[in-house]
C-alpha cells in the first residue's frame, strides 16, 4: 500500500490551497503540481481561472432549472403555489455547495463566497429571492476584479435595493436602511460616520427602484430622487439633477476609494484568510496595496498570501458550517449525482449545512456570514459537526444519489495492513497529510485497535467498524481547522 501513496504537497503548499480552497483532494493536488507549485497555481487561479477546465462544476447548474428563471416568473410560480421562493433559495444553496465540491477554480468560488458574505443579501426574504441568484452571479463576475465596480453593481442591484429598503425609498422620507449599512458594513465601517452622513447617504440613493410584487423590473424613477446638496464624510455634491444616477456612481466610487473602506475590506480579508484579530500592520499594508491599485482585488490577495502572517497561520482557522460540509464530501471522496428525490444527497446537503449552524448565505442579519471563528466554535456546532461526520463516515445519511467509497479503498485485498499504516493512509487520503501521533492515538481510542494490529478484510474494523475510524479523522482538529 505504502508505495501507492500519492505524493503530498509540502505543508506550505497545502496551507495555501487549503485556505483558498475547499479541501485538498487528488485532483486539486494534481492541478497544483501541474501548475508548478502552489504559488504558480494561485497566480493562475487569480488571473486566468478559466484555464482550469470546469465542466463538471458548470454542469451542476442544470440540476436546478429554477435558478435561471426570471424574477417575474419565479414570483408567479410562488403566487400560484407551483414552487415557493424558499425552495428556489434552497436550490441556490445546494448549487453553491455542489459547485464548491466539484470546482477546479476554488479561488474564484471562495472570493465569490467572501463578497456575498460581506455585501450580504440573505437568501430568505419573500421579495429579494426573485433577484437573489442574479445577485450572486453578478458578484461572481466581479469577484476577482475591482472593488469600486463590485460596490456599484451590488449597491444598485435589485436584490440589495429590495433587502435594505431602497427599492421603494423616496425623497419624501428617504429610507435610511441601505444608506446606513452601505457606510457601516460595505465601506467605511462602524464609528466612521455620523447620523448626518446616514441621512445624506439615504438621500443620494433615492430614485433606484424595483417594481415590487408586479413586474419586478428595475428602473430609475427621477421623481423619487431627492435633490439638493449632499455631504458624506468628505464627499460633496450639488446634486441638482433629477436623475441622481451619476451622483450615486460618484458617491460609490468615492466610498470604494476611501482609506477607511480600504481598511475595512482588507481587515475582513485578513480575518477570513489569515486569522481572527489580524495584526494591524498587515491590514495597513494590504490597504495600501488596495488603494495603490485602484481597488483591484488581485494585488491585495497576492500581498496577503506573500505575507509572513499568512504563512504563519496554517491551521489557525476553523471551517465554518458550509466549509465543513463541502470539505467532508471532498475528504470522503463522495460522488454526488443529480438529485431525483427530495432526500437525494445533492438536495439534503443544504439541511446538513443548517444542522451545523448555517446554510449558504442564510445569515439573517445584514452583516453577513461571520468570518471569525468564535461564532462557529459553539457546542451546537460541535454536536452538529459530529453528527454529520458520523452519519457520512458510515454512509448512512444522506444515502440516496451518492456514491461513498467502501473500506476496500483503504484495506488491501491480499496482504493485511498494520493499523498505524492504515490510519496514515486514511489521513493522507482524507486530510492530505500524514497521520500525527495524536491522530493515531485518537484512532486507537475510537476503534479499540492497537497501532501494530494487523487489519485484513476479515477484521471487525473492516467488516463493520470502519465508520469509527473515518469519523475519528473527520472529527479531529486536523479536518475542522484549515
Amino acid at each position: 500500500m505504502a508505495k501507492d501513496r500519492p505524493t503530498l504537497l509540502s505543508p506550505s503548499q497545502r496551507h495555501l490551497v487549503t485556505r483558498f480552497g475547499y479541501g485538498v483532494d487528488a485532483t486539486l493536488a494534481r492541478d497544483v503540481r501541474r501548475a508548478g507549485g502552489a504559488s504558480a497555481w494561485f497566480e493562475r487561479q487569480l488571473t486566468r481561472p478559466g484555464s482550469f477546465p470546469d465542466a463538471p462544476a458548470e454542469a451542476v447548474r442544470r440540476w436546478w432549472p429554477d435558478l435561471d428563471r426570471k424574477p417575474a416568473d419565479l414570483w408567479q410560480r410562488q403566487v400560484q403555489e407551483v414552487r415557493g421562493g424558499w425552495q428556489v433559495m434552497e436550490d441556490y444553496g445546494r448549487w453553491l455547495l455542489v459547485r464548491r465540491i466539484r470546482t477546479r477554480r476554488p479561488v474564484l468560488e471562495k472570493m465569490t463566497e467572501f463578497w456575498e458574505g460581506m455585501l450580504h443579501v440573505p437568501v430568505s426574504g419573500d421579495a429579494q429571492f426573485t433577484w437573489r441568484v442574479d445577485y450572486g452571479d453578478t458578484i461572481r463576475r466581479h469577484a476577482l476584479g475591482r472593488f469600486d465596480q463590485l460596490l456599484l453593481e451590488t449597491t444598485t442591484h435589485p436584490a440589495m435595493l429590495i433587502f435594505l429598503s431602497a427599492a421603494t425609498s423616496t425623497k419624501r422620507a428617504p429610507n435610511e436602511n441601505l444608506g446606513r449599512e452601505l457606510l457601516e458594513l460595505h465601506t467605511l465601517g462602524a464609528g466612521q460616520y455620523d447620523e448626518d452622513d446616514v441621512k445624506a447617504s439615504a438621500r443620494i440613493l433615492t430614485g433606484w427602484h424595483v417594481d415590487l410584487w408586479k413586474s419586478w423590473d428595475r428602473s430609475y424613477v427621477k421623481e423619487d430622487h431627492w435633490t439638493g446638496k449632499v455631504e458624506v464624510r468628505g464627499f460633496s455634491h450639488t446634486n441638482r439633477k433629477a436623475d441622481g444616477r451619476a451622483v450615486t456612481k460618484e458617491y460609490l466610487r468615492y466610498l470604494a476609494h476611501h482609506p477607511d473602506t480600504a481598511h475595512r475590506v482588507c481587515e475582513r480579508l485578513a480575518t477570513k484568510f489569515v486569522r481572527d484579530d489580524p495584526p494591524r500592520s498587515l491590514v495597513k499594508r494590504l490597504a495600501k496595496v488596495y488603494l495603490r491599485n485602484d481597488t483591484a482585488i488581485v494585488p491585495v490577495l497576492r500581498a496577503l498570501v506573500a505575507s509572513k502572517e499568512f504563512r504563519a497561520s496554517a491551521g489557525d482557522k476553523l471551517r465554518d458550517p458550509s466549509e465543513d460540509v463541502v470539505a467532508t464530501y471532498r475528504a470522503l471522496g463522495v460522488e454526488v449525482g443529480r438529485p431525483t428525490r427530495n432526500d437525494s444527497g445533492a438536495n439534503a446537503m443544504i439541511w446538513q449545512a443548517s444542522g451545523l449552524g448555517l446554510s449558504p448565505h442564510a445569515w439573517p442579519r445584514p452583516d453577513g456570514t461571520p468570518v471569525t471563528d468564535d461564532v462557529w466554535a459553539s457546542p451546537a456546532r460541535a454536536l452538529g459537526s459530529m453528527s454529520m461526520h458520523w452519519s457520512m463516515a458510515g454512509g448512512w445519511w444522506p444515502s440516496h444519489g451518492l456514491r461513498y467509497r467502501e473500506p476496500k479503498a483503504w484495506v488491501p485485498a491480499k496482504k493485511p495492513i498494520r493499523f498505524k499504516d492504515l490510519v496514515d493512509d486514511v489521513s493522507r487520503d482524507l486530510l492530505h497529510r500524514p497521520a500525527s501521533r495524536r491522530l493515531l492515538e485518537t484512532a486507537c481510542l475510537a476503534t479499540g485497535c492497537k497501532a501494530r494490529e494487523k487489519i485484513d478484510r476479515e477484521h471487525g474494523l473492516y467488516q463493520w467498524g470502519f465508520p469509527r475510524l473515518l469519523a475519528a479523522v473527520l472529527d479531529s482538529p486536523d479536518h475542522l481547522a484549515c
Partner: protein, 432 residues
C-alpha cells in the same frame, strides 16, 4: 457504576502502542471523575473491535439525576433582534405627537389593550392580556442605553456586554453565571447556534438548536467515540472548549431530551420562537440545572412594511411574540413560579414614520418583564414626551440595566457590582 473509576484501567491489556496513550488515559480518568460526580451514566461494556476484551473507559449514557436544586430561579432573556419598535408594542396614546408623527403607522387608541391613561398594548399582544390582568406581566417604557447607538451590531455588542468602558469580552449573563452556585454545564444555555454576546465569556455556555439534537451521535454502543473526541480536543482553542462543553452538556441533557414537549392552552405558534420556547420549557421542567437561558426572535428591523392593524410585519411579529410567551408560561405549569422572562432589543425606532410603512433606527424602547416576581399589570418608567422631527427620538429615562439589575438581585440575590460593574441602578419597582 463507579467501579471503573477506581480500578486501574488495565493499561497493559489496553495499550494501543500509542506513545501518549497513558497520558491520554489519565486525562480521561480525571475527566471521568469530574463527570461522574455530576452524572450517573451507565457503563456499557461493548465488545472490542479487535476482540481484546471490555473497554474499561467505556461510559456513555445520560444523567440520572437533576443537577441543581429544582427550586432555583430561572432567567429567560428574550432578545428582539433588529430593534423592535417599542412605540408600536406599547403605544403612548396620550402623547399627541405619536399620532402626528405616524399618520399611517399609529395604532388607534380605541383598539389598544390593557390601556391606562398614557399607554396601551398593541392588539396583536392579546394573548398576553390574561398575564397582564393576573399581574405577572409588566412593561417598562423609555428604556435603553445611556447614549444613542444606531448601529445594530455595535449596539447589540454594547447592550449585551453591559460594561461600558471595559474591553473584556464578557457578557452580563456570563458575569451573572460567575456569581451563581451550581455546577451544571447547562447553567447558561443559549437556544440557537451561536453563543450570544450576553453569555459569552469565561464561564462555559451551552448552545443548543433543538433539544432533541443535543446529543453526540455514535455514542450509543460504548464510550469509544467520546474518549477519542476528548483525546483529540485537549487544546485551549475555542473549538476545543466547544467540543468539551458539547460533550458534558449533551451528557447532562438526557433529562431534557426525556422530558416531553408540553401541549399548553393556548398552543405554541409553529414559529421559530414558539419552538424555541417549547424547548426552553422542557429544559426548565426537566431540572437539568439551566438557570440562565437566552432566546432570540429576529426580523424586528422594520424599515418598510411594518404595516397596520390589518397587515404587515409588526402584526405578525408581535402576535408571534405574544402567543409564544403566553404558551410558554402556560406550559411551565408549577415551574412558572421560578421563571422570569425579560425582553430586550438593541435600540428602538424613530418617532417619525418613513415613506413605506416603516421606521428607521432610533433610541428608547420598551422592555417586557414577565413571570416570577414581577409586579405586573402596569406600565413603569418615566415618559419624556415625543418630538415630531426627523431626528425625533424616544429618549431614554430608564437605563435598561436598572431593569435587569432588579431582576437579578431579586431573583438570584447577587450584587449589582459584579454583574454591572460601575453601575448605580435606579429603582424601577417592577420586581417584588
Amino acid at each position: 457504576m463507579t467501579t471503573h473509576e477506581t480500578t486501574s484501567p488495565g493499561r497493559t491489556s489496553r495499550s494501543c502502542g500509542c506513545p501518549d496513550f497513558d497520558e491520554a488515559r489519565l486525562a480521561l480518568s480525571r475527566r471521568r471523575l469530574v463527570g461522574t460526580a455530576l452524572a450517573g451514566g451507565a457503563v456499557a461494556l461493548g465488545p472490542s473491535l479487535a476482540g481484546t476484551g471490555p473497554q474499561a473507559y467505556a461510559v456513555t449514557g445520560r444523567t440520572a439525576t437533576a443537577l441543581a436544586a429544582p427550586g432555583g430561579s430561572v432567567l429567560v432573556l428574550l432578545s428582539l433582534r433588529g430593534a423592535a419598535d417599542g412605540l408600536s408594542l406599547v403605544v403612548p396614546h396620550a402623547d399627541p405627537v405619536y399620532y402626528a408623527a405616524r399618520p399611517r403607522l399609529a395604532i388607534p387608541a380605541a383598539s389598544l389593550l390593557a390601556a391606562d391613561a398614557m399607554f396601551g398594548l398593541h392588539p396583536a399582544l392579546a394573548p398576553l392580556v390574561p398575564m397582564w390582568n393576573s399581574g405577572t406581566l409588566a412593561a417598562v417604557h423609555a428604556t435603553g442605553m445611556a447614549t444613542p447607538n444606531r448601529s445594530h451590531f455595535a449596539a447589540m455588542e454594547a447592550i449585551e456586554d453591559a460594561a461600558p468602558g471595559s474591553s473584556e469580552r464578557n457578557g452580563w449573563l456570563n458575569r451573572l453565571l460567575g456569581e451563581l452556585p451550581g455546577t451544571s454545564p447547562l447553567q447558561g444555555t443559549a437556544m440557537g447556534n451561536q453563543v450570544p454576546t450576553s453569555l459569552f465569556g469565561a464561564h462555559p455556555a451551552f448552545v443548543v438548536n433543538r433539544v432533541d439534537n443535543a446529543k453526540v451521535s455514535g455514542t450509543e454502543e460504548d464510550g469509544r467515540r467520546l474518549a477519542s473526541l476528548r483525546h483529540a480536543w485537549t487544546g485551549s482553542s475555542p473549538m476545543s472548549r466547544a467540543v468539551r462543553d458539547a460533550i458534558s452538556g449533551a451528557e447532562t441533557f438526557g433529562l431534557a431530551r426525556d422530558t416531553s414537549a408540553g401541549t399548553p392552552t393556548p398552543a405554541y405558534p409553529g414559529t421559530g420562537l414558539g419552538k424555541a420556547l417549547s424547548d426552553v420549557s422542557r429544559i426548565v421542567r426537566s431540572g437539568v440545572g439551566a438557570e440562565v437561558i437566552t432566546v432570540d426572535q429576529g426580523d424586528w428591523d422594520m424599515h418598510t412594511d411594518a404595516g397596520t392593524l390589518e397587515w404587515g410585519d409588526m402584526k405578525r411579529n408581535a402576535g408571534d411574540l405574544a402567543s409564544s410567551i403566553a404558551a410558554f408560561f402556560a406550559d411551565l405549569g408549577p415551574a412558572a413560579d421560578r421563571v422570569t422572562l425579560v425582553t430586550l432589543s438593541e435600540f428602538g425606532r424613530r418617532v417619525k414614520e418613513n415613506d413605506d410603512y416603516g421606521t428607521d433606527h432610533g433610541f428608547g424602547n420598551v422592555m417586557f418583564v414577565a413571570g416570577a416576581g414581577v409586579r405586573g399589570g402596569r406600565y413603569y418608567g418615566s415618559w419624556p414626551g415625543l418630538h415630531d422631527t426627523l431626528d425625533g427620538d424616544l429618549l431614554v429615562t430608564t437605563d435598561y440595566r436598572s431593569v435587569l439589575a432588579e431582576v437579578v438581585t431579586r431573583r438570584f440575590g447577587v450584587s449589582v457590582a459584579q454583574v454591572f460593574p460601575g453601575f448605580a441602578p435606579q429603582a424601577v419597582g417592577v420586581m417584588a
